[in-house]
C-alpha cells in the first residue's frame, strides 16, 4: 500500500509543466484524490509526477457573458461555495454534494475527476448534460473538446499524453436555472449504481431548456436527448416527472466488469422522474 518510486517536479510555470509532461511516463498531479490511492495500490506507476500546485492562474472560476470557466485546480469544495456556479450552473453544485466526502472534496478537483473518467462518478455526466467544453493544453498547442466527445470509455478519455485540462467551460444557464440530481448507491458515499443529472430553465410555465444525462449505465455518460426534447416541447400543465418514462428502453452498453448496468437501466425512468421532480421543486 505504498507508491512505487517516481520522480517528482512542481514547476512554477505552465510552460515548464507542459515540457515536463511531454516526457514519457509523466503524469499530472492536481488534487490527487483518485491518483494517490492508485499510486498506493500500484495500479498506476508513473515515472514522473508533475505537481501543478505552484502554477499561478489555475485556480479561479471566471465568468464571461455566456459561460463560466473553471480552472483545473478548483476543488469540489471551492466550486460548491461559488455563488456564480450556484446561480448559473446549479447542477454542478447539486452534483458535488454526491461526490466523495468533505475531506475528499477539499482536495479533489473537478478537472481531475473528469480526466479520471470513472463511470460511477457524478461530474462526467454533469459535464455532458451541460455541454461543457474542456480546453486541453499541450506544449504544442491548445484544443477544445466537448464533454460528450471527451469520454471514450470507462477510465478512458480523449486526453493525449502530455496534455492537461486547462479549463472547463460551462455554458451559463439562464437566470433562475434549477437543478436536480438523483442517485442510487449501496449506501451514503458509495459509488452510484445509477445517477441522473437534470438542469432546467423555465419561464412562463414552460421549459425553455432542459439538460439531462445519466451515469453508471454504460462506460461513458449518456445524454437523455429524448427526455430533454420532451420536456422542452411539453405544454404547460404537463406532468413533467412522468416524462422520465421516456428513458425506459435506452440502449445500454454493459459496463465492463460491472453487473449493475442492467440494474441502472431498470431504475433509470424512476430516477429521471425524481431528478425532474426535485428540479421543479427548486424552481
Amino acid at each position: 500500500m505504498k507508491p512505487a518510486p517516481f520522480d517528482y517536479e512542481s514547476p512554477a510555470t505552465l510552460d515548464e509543466a507542459l515540457a515536463l509532461l511531454d516526457r514519457p511516463g509523466a503524469c499530472p498531479l492536481a488534487g490527487g484524490q483518485s491518483l494517490i490511492p492508485s499510486l498506493s495500490t500500484r495500479r498506476m506507476r508513473p515515472d514522473l509526477l508533475v505537481d501543478l500546485r505552484r502554477i499561478p492562474n489555475l485556480r479561479g472560476i471566471d465568468a464571461d457573458a455566456h459561460s463560466l470557466r473553471i480552472g483545473p485546480l478548483v476543488t469540489f469544495a471551492e466550486a460548491a461555495a461559488s455563488s456564480e456556479l450556484r446561480s448559473a450552473c446549479p447542477l454542478v453544485v447539486e452534483a458535488i454534494r454526491h461526490v466523495g466526502s468533505p475531506a475528499i472534496r477539499n482536495r479533489g478537483t473537478l478537472a481531475g475527476n473528469l480526466v479520471w473518467a470513472d463511470p460511477a462518478s457524478e461530474l462526467p455526466l454533469v459535464a455532458v448534460a451541460l455541454r461543457a467544453v474542456l480546453t486541453l493544453r499541450h506544449r504544442d498547442g491548445v484544443r477544445e473538446v466537448e464533454a460528450a466527445d471527451f469520454f471514450l470509455g470507462a477510465f478512458e478519455t480523449a486526453i493525449r499524453p502530455g496534455e492537461i485540462v486547462i479549463s472547463i467551460r460551462i455554458p451559463k444557464g439562464a437566470t433562475g436555472a434549477r437543478a436536480g440530481f438523483a442517485e442510487v448507491s449501496l449506501r451514503r458515499n458509495a459509488p452510484a449504481l445509477a445517477a441522473v443529472a437534470v438542469q432546467i430553465e423555465a419561464a412562463d410555465g414552460r421549459v425553455r431548456a432542459a439538460r439531462i444525462a445519466a451515469g453508471s449505465l454504460q462506460p461513458t455518460p449518456m445524454r437523455l436527448a429524448s427526455v430533454e426534447a420532451a420536456l422542452e416541447a411539453a405544454e404547460p400543465g404537463t406532468d413533467l416527472p412522468a416524462l422520465g418514462a421516456l428513458a425506459a428502453g435506452q440502449t445500454i452498453a454493459g459496463l465492463a466488469g460491472q453487473s449493475t448496468a442492467g440494474y441502472a437501466g431498470t431504475v433509470l425512468p424512476a430516477l429521471v422522474g425524481r431528478a425532474i421532480a426535485s428540479t421543479l421543486a427548486a424552481l
Binding site: K2, A4, R42, V184, R187, A190, T266, V267, L271
Partner: protein, 778 residues
C-alpha cells in the same frame, strides 16, 4: 461513591488516551533497527507452485531477507483448536509449499529497511504457477464428485461433520400435520475491524527471548501456538496485544504472519514489523458466515413445531483456521433458539473451498441460525394463518422450563443447557418498546398506499461467557491504588472500566483508583482472552473474586493494626473500621503498607502483600437472550432497503455498565445491518475475490443507521458468582434475524419468498421483484 458502582454508566477509563492520540496500536510501535516485512501472496485460487525466483528481489535496494515455503518447511502448520478426532486436519502452512489454495495465501515474505523498499522488492519475486481447477460452490465442493480436491490425501473436501441428535425427529415428521422445507443461503462477508492486523516481532530481548506485538484478541493463546509451531518453550516468548482497533472474531485466530515475522526477526537479529494493508486484509484475514442450510420443520395442527432437521454446509475456505469448526458447530447446536422443538437432528459439514479461510465473526454461528429459524417461523405462521408472534409464543420455552438441557453441544464450549432467562417476557417487552400493534396498523396503511414496508422480529438465545476459565490478579500498593491484571484482552469493549467498577465496588473505593492491565503475557502470567462474549462476565468475575480475597486479607491485617478481632471489623468506604467505634479505622493504603516485605509478616498471615489471584472456572455456558424488532421500507423504484426503526430488549444477566452494554448492542446491530444490506465478498469464476478494500466493500455509515431503542432485562445466571452473562455479540445476532425478517415481510405481498440473507442491495432486491413478477406471469 463506590457502593452500587456496578450497574451504573460510569464513563470509560480507556477514553482519555484513545481520544488524545496517545493510544498505542501495533502500527505505532517503533523499535531501534526495526525492519519491515511485505508478504507476497498467491494470485491464483488453486495452483501448483512450479518455481519461485527471488534473485531480482534480493538484489533490490534495502532488502535483507526473503523467505519462501522451503525456508519454513520444517515448521508445523497453524493449529485448529476446534477440530474433533475424526476431522481432516486441513491445516494452513506458515508459507505455501508446492501448492497454493486461495488468492492471498502467503507464498513468500520480503524483509527490507522500510516498507516502501519491501513492497518494491515484493513485486520482483517471481512465482510460476500451474493452475488447478478451483472449487468455489459450496454444494459442489461437498459433493461426491467435486471439481477438485484441495487436499487429495483426504479424498474429500469435507473437513468434518458436527452432528446433533435430540429426541426422535423421524417419528415427529411421520406424525406431522405440516412439513415445511427451505434451503437458506448465507453469503460471505467479513468482520473488517477498522484496524487491520499487524505484528512487530522483536528478537532483541535479553537471552534471545522473542517479543511478539500483535493485534490479537488472545495473546496467551498466541504465545502457546507460537511456541508449538516454533518448538520453543513458552517462557521464551512474550506476546503483547497493545491497543487493538477492533477484532470481532477476526483477530481471534492465529495467523501465518505471527510466525513468519518471528522467524525472520530471529534470523536477522532485528525487529520486524508488518502492517496489513486494507486490500491485503480482504484476502489475508478470515472471512465469515458463508453457509447453506437445508432445513425441514414438522408442525402439528396447533402450530407447535415438533421437530426440525438441518443439513448445513459451511464454506471454510482453503484451510481450517484456529476456530474453523465453530460456525458450523454453533449454528447447528443453537438453531432452535428459544423454541422448544423437542426433536432435532443436525448434520453440519465444514467444507474446504478455494477461498480465504473462514472462521468466527461476531455471533459466530448464531446469526446464521437465527436467520434460518426466524424466517422459518414466519413462513410457518404465514402458511398456517397463525399470527407470527402467537406462533412464537406457542413454541417458546417459558421461564418455568429453565434450566433446560437442549441435548446439543458446542465444540470447545460444551453442553447446551439454557440456564436462565424469560424469553416470552423479553418478547413482550420488545413488542411494547417497538409499539408493535401500532406499527402493524401503520404497515397496513402504508401498504394500502403502495409502499413496501416490512416488520421483522427475531428472538434468540445465545451462547456467551464460555470457559474454560479466566484469571484476575488484584494488587493494592502502598499508595492505596489498585492494579488489576486480567487475562481478558479487550479491544474496544471497555472491559477495563467494567473490571474497575467490579473491583472498586468490592473494595469500596473510587473506580478511578483502579488500573487494569491486560494483553501482555509478561505482565499477566495466564489468561484466555476476549472472544465469545466472555470478557466482562468471566474476567470480571475473576477480578472481583480476587478483589474479595484482597478485602478478606485486608481485614485480617487491619485487625492487627486496630487491635480488634476481625469479626468486629467492617469494611466501609475503602477503610477497615471497628464496628461501633467511630474514628477507629485504617485505610487501604495503610493496610497495604503494613503488608509489604520490609515489615514483619502481619499476625495470622502466611504471605506478604495485599495481593491475590483468582481463577474463575466456568462451570458451564451461560446463555443470553434478546428480542429484536426492525422496520424496513423498500423503495419500489430502486430496490433500496432502509431500516426505519429498531427496538431491542436484551438480557445478558447482571449488567456492570449499561452504557457499555448499550454500546455493544448498537455496534452489533450496525454489523448485522451491514451484512444484510451491503457487505459481501464475492468471487469470480477463477476464484479471485471481487473486493479490494473499503472502496468496494461497504461498511454502513451513520446515514444508514436507524434510531435504536434499547431495553434491558437482567436474568442473573447461576453459573457466574455475580450473575453476569456476556453481551458482546447479541446485537449482531438479533439484527441479522430481525432485518432479514423485515425484508422478507415487506416482500410477501409482492410474491417474493426470501430464503437467505441477501445482501439485500438495490440490484438484488430489484432482481427479486423481477423474478417474482416473472413467476406470477408464468
Amino acid at each position: 461513591m463506590a457502593v452500587g458502582l456496578v450497574g451504573t454508566p460510569v464513563r470509560r477509563l480507556e477514553d482519555h488516551r484513545l481520544l488524545t492520540g496517545k493510544a498505542c496500536y501495533v502500527a505505532d510501535i517503533v523499535l531501534p533497527h526495526m525492519l519491515h516485512m511485505a508478504v507476497v501472496r498467491s494470485t491464483r485460487a488453486h495452483a501448483e507452485i512450479m518455481d519461485i525466483r527471488t534473485a531480482a528481489a534480493l538484489a533490490a535496494p534495502g532488502v535483507r531477507l526473503i523467505l519462501t515455503g522451503e525456508d519454513v518447511r520444517d515448521l508445523g502448520p497453524l493449529p485448529c483448536i476446534d477440530l474433533f478426532p475424526d476431522s481432516k486436519p486441513a491445516l494452513h502452512r506458515v508459507l505455501a509449499l508446492d501448492k497454493v489454495r486461495y488468492v492471498g495465501e502467503p507464498v513468500a515474505v520480503v524483509i527490507a529497511d522500510d516498507v516502501y523498499a519491501a513492497e518494491d522488492a515484493a513485486e520482483l519475486v517471481e512465482i510460476y504457477y500451474r493452475d488447478l481447477p478451483v472449487v468455489l460452490d459450496l454444494e459442489e465442493a461437498a459433493s461426491d464428485a467435486p471439481p477438485a480436491l484441495l487436499y487429495p490425501e483426504f479424498g474429500t473436501n469435507v473437513a468434518n461433520i458436527c452432528r446433533q441428535e435430540v429426541g426422535d425427529p423421524d417419528a415427529a415428521f411421520a406424525g406431522a400435520a405440516h412439513v415445511f422445507e427451505e434451503t437458506f443461503r448465507i453469503h460471505r462477508y467479513a468482520a473488517a475491524p477498522m484496524e487491520t492486523r499487524g505484528v512487530v516481532a522483536d528478537p532483541t530481548a535479553q537471552g534471545g527471548r522473542i517479543t511478539l506485538h500483535t493485534s490479537t484478541q488472545f495473546p496467551h493463546l498466541v504465545r502457546a501456538f507460537l511456541g508449538g509451531v516454533l518448538g520453543i518453550p513458552e517462557s521464551e516468548i512474550r506476546v503483547v496485544a497493545p491497543d487493538v482497533g477492533g477484532g470481532f472474531g477476526a483477530k481471534c485466530e492465529f495467523y501465518p504472519e505471527e510466525v513468519v515475522s518471528v522467524v525472520a526477526a530471529r534470523r536477522l537479529g532485528r525487529p520486524v514489523r508488518w502492517i496489513e494493508g486494507r486490500q491485503e486484509h480482504f484476502v489475508a484475514t478470515t472471512h465469515a458466515r458463508e453457509q447453506v442450510h437445508a432445513m425441514r420443520a414438522a408442525v402439528d395442527a396447533d402450530g407447535v413445531v415438533t421437530a426440525v432437521t438441518l443439513k448445513s454446509l459451511t464454506s471454510n475456505g482453503a484451510a481450517m483456521f484456529t476456530l474453523a469448526t465453530t460456525p458450523a458447530s454453533i449454528s447447528s447446536a443453537m438453531l432452535r433458539g428459544p423454541y422448544r422443538i423437542p426433536n432435532y437432528r443436525a448434520e453440519s459439514l465444514s467444507v474446504l473451498t478455494s477461498k480465504t479461510p473462514l472462521a468466527v465473526y461476531r455471533g459466530a454461528g448464531h446469526p446464521q441460525a437465527v436467520l434460518c429459524m426466524e424466517l422459518m417461523m414466519d413462513r410457518i405462521a404465514r402458511d398456517l394463518g397463525i399470527d407470527r408472534i402467537d406462533l412464537r409464543r406457542r413454541n417458546m420455552l417459558t421461564k418455568q422450563e429453565l434450566p433446560s438441557d437442549r441435548g446439543t453441544a458446542i465444540v470447545l464450549a460444551g453442553k447446551v443447557v439454557y440456564d436462565s432467562g424469560d424469553y416470552p417476557g423479553c418478547l413482550d417487552r420488545v413488542l411494547e418498546l417497538a409499539g408493535w400493534d401500532d406499527r402493524l396498523r401503520r404497515q397496513a396503511e402504508a401498504r394500502a398506499q403502495g409502499r413496501i414496508v416490512g416488520l421483522g422480529v427475531a428472538c434468540f438465545v445465545e451462547e456467551t461467557a464460555i470457559g474454560p476459565y479466566e484469571t484476575g490478579h488484584v494488587r493494592v500498593d502502598g499508595s492505596g491504588k489498585v492494579t488489576v491484571l486480567t487475562g481478558a484482552s479487550p479491544h474496544g469493549q471497555g472491559t477495563a472500566t467494567a473490571i474497575a467498577q467490579l473491583v472498586a465496588e468490592e473494595l469500596q473505593i473510587p473506580f478511578t483508583d483502579v488500573t487494569v492491565r491486560h494483553g501482555d503475557t509478561d505482565v499477566v502470567a495466564d489468561g484466555v482472552g476476549t472472544f465469545a462474549s466472555r470478557g466482562g462476565a468471566i474476567a470480571g468475575a475473576a477480578a472481583r473474586l480476587a478483589a474479595h480475597k484482597v478485602r478478606e486479607k485486608a481485614v485480617l491485617i487491619a485487625s492487627e493494626l486496630l487491635e480488634a478481632a476481625a469479626v468486629d471489623i467492617e469494611w466501609v468506604d475503602g477503610r477497615a473500621a471497628i464496628v461501633g467505634v467511630p474514628g477507629r479505622s485504617v485505610t487501604l493504603a495503610e493496610i497495604a503498607r503494613r503488608a509489604t516485605a520490609w515489615n514483619s509478616l502481619p499476625t495470622g498471615l502466611s504471605s506478604f502483600n495485599l495481593d491475590e489471584v483468582a481463577h474463575h472456572q466456568v462451570p458451564g455456558i451461560s446463555f443470553a437472550n434478546a428480542a429484536h424488532v426492525a422496520e424496513v421500507e423498500i423503495d419500489r423504484d430502486t430496490g433500496t432497503v432502509r431500516v426505519l426503526d429498531y427496538a431491542v430488549v436484551h438480557d445478558s444477566g447482571r449488567i456492570i455498565n449499561p452504557m457499555i452494554v448499550e454500546g455493544q448492542v448498537h455496534g452489533g446491530i450496525a454489523q448485522g445491518l451491514g451484512g444484510l444490506l451491503m457487505e459481501e465478498i464475492a468471487y469470480d469464476a477463477a476464484g479471485r475475490p471481487l473486493v479490494s478494500g473499503f472502496q468496494d466493500y461497504f461498511l454502513p455509515t451513520s446515514a444508514e443507521m436507524p434510531e435504536i431503542r434499547t431495553g434491558f432485562m437482567e436474568s442473573p445466571t447461576p453459573l457466574n458468582p455475580y450473575g453476569m452473562k456476556g453481551a458482546g455479540e447479541g446485537g449482531t445476532t438479533g439484527a441479522v434475524g430481525a432485518i432479514a425478517g423485515a425484508v422478507a415481510d415487506a416482500l410477501v405481498p409482492l410474491g417474493v419468498r426470501v430464503a437467505g440473507d441477501g445482501p439485500f442491495t438495490p440490484p438484488a432486491v430489484m432482481a427479486l421483484l423481477a423474478a417474482a413478477r416473472k413467476g406470477a406471469g408464468a
